[in-house]
Each structure stands twice: as structure tokens, then as C-alpha cells.
Symmetry: D2
Subunit: 348 residues, 4 copies
């Protein structure tokens, strides 16, 4: 059986090509993919041919945020059956390295993550009509939510993992800088985890409106009010217990040190290179700056929260285009005034 | 009663002056000071007239590392008596602000720390013959150790507090960058806390020899072997569970990210201003970078460890000069090839 | 000024008496009390003349769950003004003992907790028309919720404190045994803190219905289905990450060990005396059994959650009687088939 | 090749029998066993035919504490070579169950632990001349220490794991009840982890003398001074930060609640059945009672500490008998006035 796949050859050169689907092994599942979301790494691969030191050096099928419907299952499969709708866990840790055995699967030394150019040969992605995956990658999402919502499972799990870096958020005052898809989902995850106050920032008004719908209690447009954070939240050594830095923009990180309380935590979610931080404030206030990378144990929780709509992701879904118009989708997603999560649909 | 005090008027202008000792209140103790150590802030005040934004703007008696002998006690005092030898806790938190009531006394909003120019009027320091302090500032050190050792209580408590930022060190692989007094004491504190392996670095050989005597299992002269750390300890995403950065030198901090394991911790002990760090490594490896500031609950432990010589601080004691030769002491302490902790003695 | 107060002289002997209200000091607030809830200790005092070793040995005004309206404020008071509606924090720690300075105010050695017979003279309670309290005891609840709801602040803070003993509950499987007022509020607190699954038990159906309204995902009537827990949740060494034991009934605690997972936590909320536990299971599965006592830092959060109705406590409010019918209220509250929280109202 | 093995057929029926050694696979190592220690489970198997619900129902080679010398290695083996002396890690987790993948190998659902009758067929033990084990079970101990010391690796790892249940012990006040081999090693582990004060108890004087040699700062003979603990350490709600209960004797556990501080931890190390505890004290003082089971990640650390004699285990080694006199060894070990750890030697 053949499938249509969205293959990136080099920056800007994205083609719909045929690929062999392959056999369904005894512990495997054949899926018809219904929806796939464009993520930051897809966007960097498409526009820049890579991200930092990671370069697209051979054809790669993009995509690691997707959901679909089960078409066939291997003989050993017990947890899903044909017709079931599932979110796809794109993470395939080896299960035998030091980090896997310590329970840090996201740090797996041999990680095979769908749609990632981090290793060579590249790990092929999920933007295709049909795919064979392992049973354990299939997380049922029931019949109440759309596959578009289900395809938000992976970025939601990233947000939940970020929240897990900060200990219990119950009753905490939280700042989220950057209200794009990951920022908005982090707002929702912090809300779900019991944060009492969640202030979201962005340089555009549209994502701030979405942040409110996702659970923010207040927003700041830092383009319009560049001093608002510093003037409003620095008293008594800083207002926030925890800040989640989701912009990945260099000057934002240092701006958080005055507004985070002594002993507080900054979780760095956005990726960026060398960045300057005020070490004297980190030391004097005993702040913890902590990185977060993808998700680890949070995939199943993310799927369940979407399935039961305990977290409603629909506010971030702004556009869906057929896979044949993928290049247009990559254009569209750059317009932060109208777009949050842009998705592709896949039909035969 | 009068005392001789060592008063800094401005950078380089240090004078022995007379001061009134004052009455001994009911909960207070009159001490004859026996030994006082020069610390980094004293040295910056003397040579630079301040440190960062903190400036010496009025005459200040220097010193916050000292020990002495009890000469008289107030009527309510129960825990010490004349003749007792004590280390002086220089920390005077208010006990009523938000941070004090959360148990973070070192973050006290009204901290009155002996010998600090952080607030105005400056907090007067301990470099004087006699001083009246509160009973709770007097930590008995018994009769087995010298007052010179006892005067190391404060920097040892700083090292213990740094160790407390890293959770349990039992069985951990630890890196300490910078083997000056604080680095060497951090080596000792990490050893005391059960670290299995402690690698110490410096750019001079003399402090590295001291680090070995304080408990380091291996040393690296990073001036002679600038690549040793990166080449020897980067495999499998990094060797060290915890790194203590004690140099306060900008380029050292970023060099730690390749050698600290995923999920590991960097405790920043040295103070410095804006410093560039590789955020992508912090994020990708989920490293925690955490500041540590002075000490909080560790003073009594530090005094007990010195009293019982469970931590022997004598290897760091390199020179003692009478207070009248303080300027010479501030010269001497800059010679890292021969000096670690330089102390002053105080006699009538 | 006089107030009417509900004074317990000995078991069953409850009288409405007049008391002097007293002056309003500079940091104090005069409140008109609007609603007060009967709690377990009130009930034990009334029926048994004490609880365990704590005995009512002199007249005591009952009550530590109450809310009211500000009538007058002292000259220094800034955070409330006449007309404001507030929940009353009944906890008055000394602020100077070892535990207060470690941030464990609920362990204060000199605690003066309204309506408690724990110390002598007893701490007088809140069941009276008017009372003068400290400004910091007044937690504003806004105008949207009733004083009856506001009077649930204290038991909700107890539930939040119990949840805080268990670390982050995000995504966790939670068991709550006993669905009386504290159990039901613990369900709500666990839900608020992001628990994914919350199974509540009781021996009566009525409280189980309330538990569902408070956020339980499933309930078990353990009188009707005594084996349901053991048969349904013991596989693979136990289903639950965390159990909250709210019955205070001896045989319930040991029944939790088979259904809590290895490394899991049992938080004991209910009070009882000597109780037998299966130590071999505690050891073999490395379970943590942890006590929780009143609340510490959670009062302000509880007030805010009720104020904003992020936690809706109305399902537990089953009856209100005027203070003159208090004895009848103490009868009524024993009927677990119809009653959860029984409150008193106070009018001039 | 044949080996002599010590096979228990039923309580009291211990025989030296011949067994086939088997081939050395590519990742395996042939060891000549030099020393093996009698542990509590061996003793219970020998005298009682089991322990609690675990029964010896078929012939089982005893022993899970042993050390030996490498005689041959498989083709893939890199970390040891013939002639190397090693401690044997008796733990063989499956590496694929839920608990293994969470990093809790000691909770493995399919654990194959040498010398354990927990599963059927029983896991055969280490009391034999020669054995083939996996490379990863071989922990080198160098040439400075005896094989008798090396054979203490397993019980030391149990003590280290117990210490790991209590968080950082740096500067803590620690109580260890029961100074048999595990208690004495727990004293040493707590000392190694930086405990400031370690008080050990027992009902016999001999083990208390050993406890002092292992690092206890004070001892109490609770047979001679039954009230000493309660009268000396209950003030201000309890003296100890952490208690390790190593007796496994019912009435000892409840006696710890008055002497452990609010918020403190009791780690239950000894195994016993149903035991009564004062739940009101657990609740009122918010104590954590926590079980500990075998060891998890601590085997390598234990081997290294013995190798470098950072923990000297020789004080607990009281007698060695040849395997042919095993029955006599099982007699001897019951004499707590003269014996701590009794070991067997194995010669061709």
C-alpha cells in the first residue's frame, strides 16, 4: 500500500511524494492520519533548512503533531481496534539506555522522534495519509473531540511537561511570556494544575485574547507597554512564584529576574542560543532557571485531557489546509495577528 | 569602654579608629574579638570602593567573618558565659518580614548584616577589638580549635548553604570550579555531604593542592589544561550530577553545560553581572541553574563542624596579620599563588 | 458593647451568654459574624466534652469556621474597610517560636486557635454576634458569594493543606476515603490541583452524590460493596498514586495499602488513636504515610477560591439554624443521610 | 563444571550438594565465590522455613550477600577481567516493566533476586563455590579490601537506600533503633551522608559498641534504660529530624512518634506485620512514615565506598565459617551478644 507524504528536500522545497506504507507487525497499528499541526521545528526546517546546529541534510517527511483513525491492528494489539480515533505519540525512546532506565525517556540517547532531523538518517514524520506505528504510540481520544483537537496532544504534553518542572503550581502566581501555541497551552496547563493567577504576555493582541480564553487571568501587551512588567511586579523582590519563558527571544529571559520572587523558578521553554542573564540577581535572589525539553510521561495525560475536554484546545486552532497546500500553510502560520496553530488535513 | 575599629572611608583609605563599645543589654554579649577573615566583599570594598551596585558611601567598619571570647553577658543570657569561645553569626534578619516567616532569613527585606554596605546607613562590621552582639549570634566552638579556625564559620556556612541548594549529594559526582576559600570550603562541604567524586578546578596550582587537602578526589589546572574538562567529561551528555561555580568569572559558567548531565544542577556561588549562557543546552538537557546567597540555617552546623573538626579548615588559613597592618593584608590576599584565607588578629 | 456568644460549659451544656466585645485596637477589626459552620471538634466537644486527650475544662465559646462583615477598623488597618465581607482566619500563631520561623505556623508551640480547648485557658471561638480580630485574620471574599460559603474557608484550607502534603497532583490517580465535609472538600481541592481521576468512598449514598458534584470521577459505597476497592484496584501492586484518608475510622487506613502504588503516598487527614497498619506492605512497596494538621499558608488561597467560586462549596451546605437553636444543629449534623455541613446564623 | 552449593530443603534441612555451573555466555562472568554473609531472610528461611507469607516450598540455594574473584569472562565483557575481585549485585530486574522504566528497579514486577523464595520457581542464591552471573552484576572492589568486606556490599546498599528515602541528611539529628548489621550500616550511611548527630539504640551492649565504631555519636541501651528516649528527646515536640527503625519489633515504631519533630520522617527499615501506631501523633505533628525495600541505584556506590574504605565495614564482621559448617553458622548468628554479621567461606 502506498501513502502520500509531505517531504522536505531543502529549505522551501516541500513536495507531496508517494511512500510505501509497509506491513503491520504483530504489535503495530495502521492509522489513517486525519490532522497534523505545524510546529516550530517544522517551520524552521521549512524556512531555514534547520534549527541551530540541526540541519535538514536529506529528504525528511515533516510532522510530529498528528491524530488519526485506526484502520488495522496487528495480532497482539489489545488497546485499540479499527475505527478508534487516536492521538499519535511521536516519541520512540530506546527503552534500554541509561536515561530510559532512569525514567527520563525524553533524554534517551537513541531517541527516534518522528519528523526530527536531529539524527541521521533523519526520523521520518507524520505528515502523510497513512502510517504504521507501534501500539503504544496510539492514545485513544474517544468520539467527542475532533481529530484537529486530538492533534494538539503533543504540544499540550510539552506544556504539561514544562509545568511539571516547576513542582506543584497550586495557588501559585504564574507568568507566561509569549502566547503563541506553546505559551497558550502552558497557560491552560498551569490553570489545570491549580495556579491562582496567570499573567500572559505577547507583543500582539490576538494571541493575548487566546490566552484569556485558555485561562489567563490578566494579559500584558509588552510591545505597547514595555515597562508594565517591571513597574507592576518588581516590588518586594518580585511578584511571581514561577515564570514560563515561551518566546525564545533573547532579551525576554533577563527581564524576568526582577519580577520572580526569591527562591522562585523560571522554566525556560523556548529554545535559543547564547543569551545573557543577570547572574547577580540569580545568585542574590536564589532563583532557579530550569530547562524543559519535549515531554516524558505526559503524553497519556494530554490525550485524556483533550478526550474529556478538561482542557479545551479549540481556541488555538485557527486554520486547516489540505496537505497539498502545505507551502501556503507555512506562509500563513507566520502571521501572528491571525494565526495560532495551523494544521493540515490528509485525505486519500 | 572604647574599642579600636578598622574603618574604611573610601577605596584604599582604611584607618584604625576608636569607637564606643556600648552597654551590654539583657540579651546581649560582650566579646573580645580574636580573629577576623578577609572576604571577597571586604576586598572589593577596599580596592574598588564597592561591588557592583553596592557602594561604600560613608565610613564603614569592615568584616563579617570573626570569632572571639566572651567577656561579659547580659542578665538573660543562658547559652554562653564569660571565657567561652564563639564564632559570630553576622546575620541579623528582622524576624518579621514575609521571607523571615517563610524560613528564608537570608532573603530578609530588612537584613542588617555586619560589615555590609548594601543598605544605608551601612551595617558596621566585626573588625574591632570588642563588640556587643546578641546572644543568638554567639555560636560556641569549644576549646579544641583556634579562633582563627572559628572565624571560618561564616564562609563555611556559605559553602554548606550552597550544598543545600543541590539536594542530597550522597554518591554524587561533583564539580567545583574555582578553588579559592569558598571553592575549597565547598569541596569540604560536598565531601561532608557524601559526594562520591569531587573534581576541583583553578588556574593556579596552589589552591588546587589545598582543594585536595579539603577532600577533592581530582583537580584540573584549567590554565594549563583548558580543554581537559570538555574532552574528559562531556561523553554521554555529561559526567557531573552537580557543579558549583565558585569563580564568578564570566566564561566559566557556560563551559559547565556540556559536562553536567541531563537533569543535573549547576549552583552558581560566585557573583558576577550579565553573563552569557547556552540556553539551548539548558533547555535540551533540562539543566537547573540555581543561585545561592550567603547562608540561612547553616551557621550552627558550620560552628559545630569546626568545633568538632569534622571539617578541618586549617588548610585554607595562610596568613594572619595584626589589625594595624590591615592594608598589607589586603595586598597579600591578592597573591593567589601563596594565599587562601588571610586573617587579622586583634589585641588590646 | 455586648455580644451574644455560644458558650459550652460541659458536654451537652451549651448556652447563649453575653460577653463584652472589647475595644478595636489600631491593627484590629470589628466584625459582625454572619455564618459559622459546625466542625468535627465542635461536635466532639458538644457530645463528648472533648476529643482524645483534649478536654473542655472551662467554659469555651465554640467555633472556628466563620465569616462576617466589617463594622469598624482600627487606625492602622489598610486591607479592609467597613462593609467588606470577610472569612475569618482562626489561626493565631505566635510568629516567634522555632516552628513559626521555619514557616510551619500550624505547628506553632504557642498557637492560639479560636475555639480550641487544646490549651488552657481555652482559646475562645467565633460563634458570637460580634468579635474583634486582627486585620491579618480578615480575608476578603467579595460580594458574589454568601457568608455561608465564605464560612467554608477554614475547612477548605484544611483540604488544600492536605493536598499540599502530597506534592503535585497533576495527572495523578487519587482516592479519597470518607466523603463528609472534609472529604468532599478534599475531592474539590484535588480536582483543583489537577488530579486526573478521583475516586471517593463512603458508607452512605448521600455524601457520595455530593462528592460527584465536588469533582469525583467515580464513587464507591463501601458499605454496599465492601470488596470493591480491593478487587478493582489492587492489580499491578496498586492503582492509586495518592490516597487521602478522611474517615478517621481505624480499619479504613490498612485497607489502603493494597491499592496504593509502590512509592505512592497516603495522606492521613482524619484523626484517630492507636491504629494497626500492615508494616510489611508499607516497607515492601515503599509507601509514604503522612499526617496533615489544619492549614498553614493555605487560608488566603481558600478565601480566593471561594471568592471567585473556582471551588464551589455550595453542594456541602445542607442546613442553617439560628444560634439560639445550636443544640438542635448539633443533633441534626449527626444525620449523615441528609447533612454535610450544618451552619449557624447570627443576628442581633 | 560442577560447584558445591548450600541448598535448603526445608527449615533446618541444609545440605551441601553438587550443581552444574553452566556455560559462560557472551555477556557473562564466571566467579569463584570467596565470602557470603548470612542475612535476615536466610536466617528466617533456615529456622522458620520462610518469612511471613513467603515460604520455602522447593530446594533453594541460599545467599544474596557475596563476593568473589573472576575466573573467566564472556567475549563481550569489558568491565572486568580474570583475577578481578568483585562484589555481586544480587538484583536482576527485568528492565521492561512499568517500575523498571520509572527507575524503580527494586519494585520490578518480575524481579529475580538471588536466594529469594518470593517467586516460584525460587531464585537460586549465591552460597556456592562457583557461579555464572551477568557482567553488570559484577562490581569491582579493588585489591585493598578483603572479600569478606566486599560481601557486605549488599547490606550496605540497603542502608544507603534507606538513607535515600529521607532526603538530604546533612546536619540532621538522626535516630537509629536497632544496631544489628543493618542498623549499624545505617549508622555508617547516615554518617557518610553528613548527619550531625546519630543516636543508636539496642537492647544489648555489644551491638551498641559496634554502632559507636560505625559513627554513632551516642547510644542508648533500651533494655537498661527503657525511658531514656522518651524523657530525653520529647521536649519541644521532638528532637530528631529523621528516625530509621531497624528492629522490626512491633512496640518500637510507636515509641518514635514522641521523639521525632513536626514535619520529620520515620524510615521503616525492619519488616514486620500488622503494627499499631499513634495516628493522632502522626497527624498532629505531620510526620512522614516511609518504607524502604532493598536497594535500587545504590549497589555501585556501596561497592565503591567499601573499595575505598570510605565506609569501613570491618567492625560488623564477627565470624567466618566454612560452608560445610553452615548449620553451625546459623546457630552462631543468633547470639547477639557476640555476633553481628556471620559469613561463610567457600573453597574448592
Amino acid at each position: 500500500m502506498k501513502t502520500k507524504a509531505l517531504v522536505l528536500h531543502k529549505a522551501g522545497d516541500l513536495r507531496v511524494e508517494e511512500r510505501e506504507v509497509g506491513e503491520v507487525g504483530p504489535d503495530q497499528v495502521l492509522l489513517h492520519v486525519g490532522a497534523g499541526g505545524l510546529c516550530g521545528s517544522d517551520i524552521h526546517y521549512f524556512w531555514d533548512g534547520g534549527i541551530g546546529a540541526i540541519r535538514v541534510s536529506e529528504p525528511i517527511i515533516l510532522g510530529h503533531e498528528a491524530a488519526g483513525t485506526v484502520e488495522a491492528v496487528g495480532v497482539n494489539v489489545r488497546t485499540v481496534k479499527p475505527g478508534d480515533r487516536v492521538a499519535i505519540d511521536p516519541s520512540r525512546p530506546c527503552g534500554t539506555c541509561r536515561f530510559c532506565l532512569e525514567g527520563m525517556m525524553n533524554q534517551c540517547e537513541n531517541m527516534d522522534f518522528h519528523g526530527s532531523a536531529m539524527r541521521k538518517p533523519h526520523s521520518q514524520g507524520l505528515f502523510r495519509n497513512r502510517i504504521v506505528v507501534a501500539e503504544r504510540q496510539c492514545l485513544p481520544v474517544g468520539d467527542k473531540v475532533s481529530l484537529a483537537e486530538a492533534a494538539c496532544m503533543e504540544p499540550l504534553s510539552v506544556a504539561l511537561h514544562a509545568v511539571n518542572q516547576a513542582g506543584s503550581l497550586m495557588g501559585r502566581r504564574v507568568l507566561v511570556t509569549g502566547s503563541g501555541p506553546i505559551g497558550a497551552l502552558t497557560v491552560a496547563a498551569a490553570r489545570y494544575a491549580g495556579a491562582q493567577e496567570i499573567i500572559a504576555t505577547d507583543i500582539a493582541d490576538a494571541p493575548l485574547k487566546t490566552a484569556i480564553r485558555m485561562g489567563a487571568t490578566q494579559t500584558i501587551n509588552s510591545a505597547k507597554q514595555p515597562d508594565r512588567l517591571a513597574t507592576g511586579f518588581s516590588a518586594h523582590k518580585g511578584w511571581f512564584d514561577v515564570a514560563f519563558e515561551c518566546t525564545g527571544v533573547g532579551p525576554v529571559l533577563p527581564s524576568l529576574f526582577p519580577v520572580v520572587r526569591p527562591g522562585g523558578t523560571i522554566v525556560q521553554v523556548g529554545v535559543m542560543g547564547e543569551t545573557s542573564i543577570p547572574v547577580n540577581a540569580l545568585v542574590g535572589k536564589e532563583i532557579s532557571l530550569r530547562g524543559t525539553h519535549r515531554a516524558n510521561t505526559e503524553y497519556a495525560l494530554a490525550a485524556a485531557l483533550i478526550r474529556d475536554r478538561r482542557i479545551d484546545v479549540t481556541p488555538i486552532l485557527t486554520a486547516t489546509l489540505p496537505m497539498e497546500q502545505a507551502a501556503k500553510a507555512f506562509e500563513l502560520v507566520r502571521d501572528r495577528n491571525t494565526q495560532m496553530k495551523v494544521q493540515l488535513s490528509f485525505t486519500d
